[in-house]
Amino acid sequence: MSEFASAFFSVANLINVALSIAIVGVLGVGMTAVILTGGIDLSVGSGVALVGIVTALAAHAGGSPSALMAGILLGGLAGAFVGLLVARWSVPSFLVTLATLSIERGLAYWISGGRSIGELPAGLTWLGQGIVLGLPVPVWVMLLVFVLGWFVLTRTTGGRWVYATGGNEQAAWLAGVDTKRVIFATYLANGLLVGLAGVMLAARLGAGVPNAGVGYELDVIAAVVVGGTALVGGRGGVIGTLAGAVFIGVLNNALNIANVDPYLQRIVVGVVILGAVLADQARRRILRV
């Protein structure tokens, strides 16, 4: 036990946990905003893979800065496409992103010919592997994104409108909130963050990998939901999502150190997520009465 404790509480291990949740955390900020409007994005896992491939190609063609730009822009473009369909034509986000999940994964394989695209320039890999002031760069990026997301959602008019749109779209619209624009902007912002996360993942892996990020959408949604954001929209926030991501990261890490069978680990994580969500539901019910 003490062996477990000393391994778990070592600084190196805690940094390791932070690094393991960095990409899910960045995606979690965008996902929180999307879920606050009452929507969902199932395609973030495919999105980071496609962005990773395009980033790697751009890095070979034009160097690190243009690769970073290309990755974020591509993410934004994909987000704008989803946002247009959801906001303008009221297609359920579940369906749109179920489709883009498949399209983006397909594009990632097709463009790359199914092979990883490696040998990325050092400037780019620094984004995934560099260390600044003792912390890995992805952890810094994640913290920055969380602070930014928290500020926008809680301190600006746009953030307030996101909550209002998800809380009661009719009421917000009748009170003069341009709910369609709010929804579009939310998917656009989410897409830009998917772009950033895609660049970070490629940088960390040292390559654009077409089958990277499989199942990320579920990890991200789990972090958001465990963090207390309601799937119906209007309630929750990024602080909860950060807590949710840390919680799941710590759990995975502890199970690893305790040498739990990897198959069993997935079951344990699932059960714990279910428990956390049920406990949250019970808490709400008690508080209401």
Binding site: T157, R160, L174, A175, G176, V177, G234
Partner: protein, 481 residues
């Protein structure tokens, strides 16, 4: 022969009396009309008889025997069936299956029993077709047949059965009702339409504010008497006229939108104009078209003499409109969110700098309006769902008061608001008009219209049929007298 006798029925909802000591007697073989305005207690009384509300005081007897219903099941077992305004049929099932839904019966006798029930109401609907292929009128017939499918049905309660029917379909319904009373059934018939009362009822009961106002044979209660009893004598005075009204604020010319046809009117600054009419007269549709919530098909809108067209509420709000919707929970408020957030929702841009909300200013502005409108809340951070209906309504009003407002449109200002808070909401609206704002009020409550408004415009079936000089005259115009 008396079938049902209710005595001294009292129903309270959280301290507010919905019915206070109401009597009702239903006689076999006759139609008893139940009249009253919205909120008079008609639905509550019907639900007591149908077993879905247990009265706090009073007794119900059938054939002289006291009965107590704890659920609709008990009432059905005793032979009382109710047909609700919203039909409860399963669209994908056949007529036969719907008629016998819930009445467990052996499969082979089903068709015959359904045919019997349809025959009893004199209907020739094919029992094998799916209900979704039928007209609304035929669906209503199926609903009645379903109510009568149990052998022991003695009492039929109909809640606004003609609200969705055309004139010809009404005739068929009345023929059906005549056939039923001919076979000895007692019918309780609730309606807004007084011409129907004169046609089919032999007994009339009028409720107002949960009290029994009058009950007796139709012959002793002419239409004018019923209207006066429904509205109450004290409001039958001329609508008061404000002397100091300003220039024309909003002018609407020949507006058509959906159900609304060719409506022309204007509102001056400092004036409160009331729109009255029955449910589905087109009043809500009219104001939704004005503020851009629904598209306009024809007509022109002018504000301060300048033509404008709002494609969405945001456009109208920028011009100086404010809108308090009828459905406060569904369209007015974000119920789980804070009082502060709900108060500043429409004016958030003016409280922000570079899109960053000035939180201290937002808080002080919210506090100021909470004080001015005397909104009772623990704090400005309390979820608005914890406030009473009246205080919630004041929050929606406050939303518009904290910015420049030219025309305020209020749909049903006091729906679901207790009596004490009503007076305060009237005061807020009156003060606003006195301060020069043009106000449009849509209301189904004639007493409210008389108390609050300077002019009353009457709508019926999507059209503006005229201006009424007094509330009782408006009531008569509403129902087509």
């Amino acid at each position: 022969m008396t079938v049902v006798e209710a005595r001294g029925i009292v129903v309270r909802f959280g301290g507010v009396a919905a019915l206070s000591g109401v009597d009702l007697t239903l006689i076999g073989g006759s139609v008893h009309a139940l009249c009253g305005e919205n909120g008079a207690g008609k639905s509550t009384l019907m639900k007591v008889l149908a077993g879905s509300i247990t009265p706090d005081e009073g007794s119900v007897a059938m054939d002289g025997q006291a009965v107590a219903f704890d659920s609709p099941r008990d009432a059905i077992a005793a032979g009382i069936r109710m047909v609700h305004q919203e039909l409860s049929l399963v669209p994908a099932l056949s007529v036969t299956e719907n008629v016998l839904l819930g009445a467990e019966s052996p499969r082979r006798t089903m068709p015959q029993r359904a045919l019997d029930a349809l025959a009893r109401i004199g209907s020739r609907i094919d029992p094998d077709v799916r209900v979704e292929t039928l007209s609304l009128a035929d669906q209503q017939m199926v609903e009645i047949a379903k109510a009568l499918a149990s052998a022991n049905a003695r009492v039929l309660i109909l809640d606004e059965p003609t609200a969705i029917l055309s004139r010809r379909e009404c005739d068929a319904l009345f023929a059906c009702i005549a056939q039923l009373t001919g076979s000895g059934l007692a019918v309780l018939y609730c309606t807004h339409r007084l011409e129907e009362v004169a046609r089919i009822a032999s007994q009339v009961t009028v409720l107002r504010d949960g009290r029994l106002i009058a009950s007796g044979p139709l012959a002793e209660m002419p239409r004018e008497v019923i209207i006066r009893q429904m509205i109450g004598r004290d409001v039958a005075r001329a609508a008061r006229t404000r002397t100091s009204t300003g220039a024309v604020a909003l002018a609407v010319q020949a507006l058509s939108s959906g159900f609304v046809r060719d409506v022309t009117f204007h509102v001056r600054y400092g004036e409160i104009v009331g729109f009255v009419g029955l449910v589905a007269a087109g009043r809500t549709e009219l104001i939704r078209a004005i503020i851009g919530a629904d598209p306009i098909e024809a007509g022109t809108l002018m504000l301060d003499g300048q033509p404008f067209l709002a494609h969405r509420p945001r456009d109208a709000i920028r011009l100086g409109f404010g809108f308090v919707p009828e459905d406060r929970k569904g369209q007015g408020l974000i119920m789980h969110d804070r009082v502060r957030v709900n108060t500043t929702l429409a004016r958030l841009g003016s409280l922000a700098r570079w899109t960053v909300v000035d939180r201290p200013r937002e808080q002080s502005v919210t506090r100021e309006w909470i004080d001015r409108l005397r909104i009772k809340t623990e704090s400005i951070e309390t979820p608005v769902e914890r406030l009473s209906g009246g205080n919630q309504q004041k929050v929606v009003l406050a939303r518009w008061l904290l910015g420049a407002l030219k025309v305020l449109i209020v749909d049903e200002p006091t729906r679901g608001v207790d009596v004490g808070a009503r007076a305060e909401i009237y005061r807020v609206i009156s003060d606003l008009a006195a301060g020069g704002t043009a106000v449009i009020v849509v209301t189904s409550d004639l007493a409210e219209a008389a108390e609050l408004c300077d002019r009353l415009l009457v709508m019926r079936e999507g059209r503006l049929i005229g201006e009424a000089d007094a509330a009782d005259r408006a009531g008569a115009m509403m129902v087509g007298a």
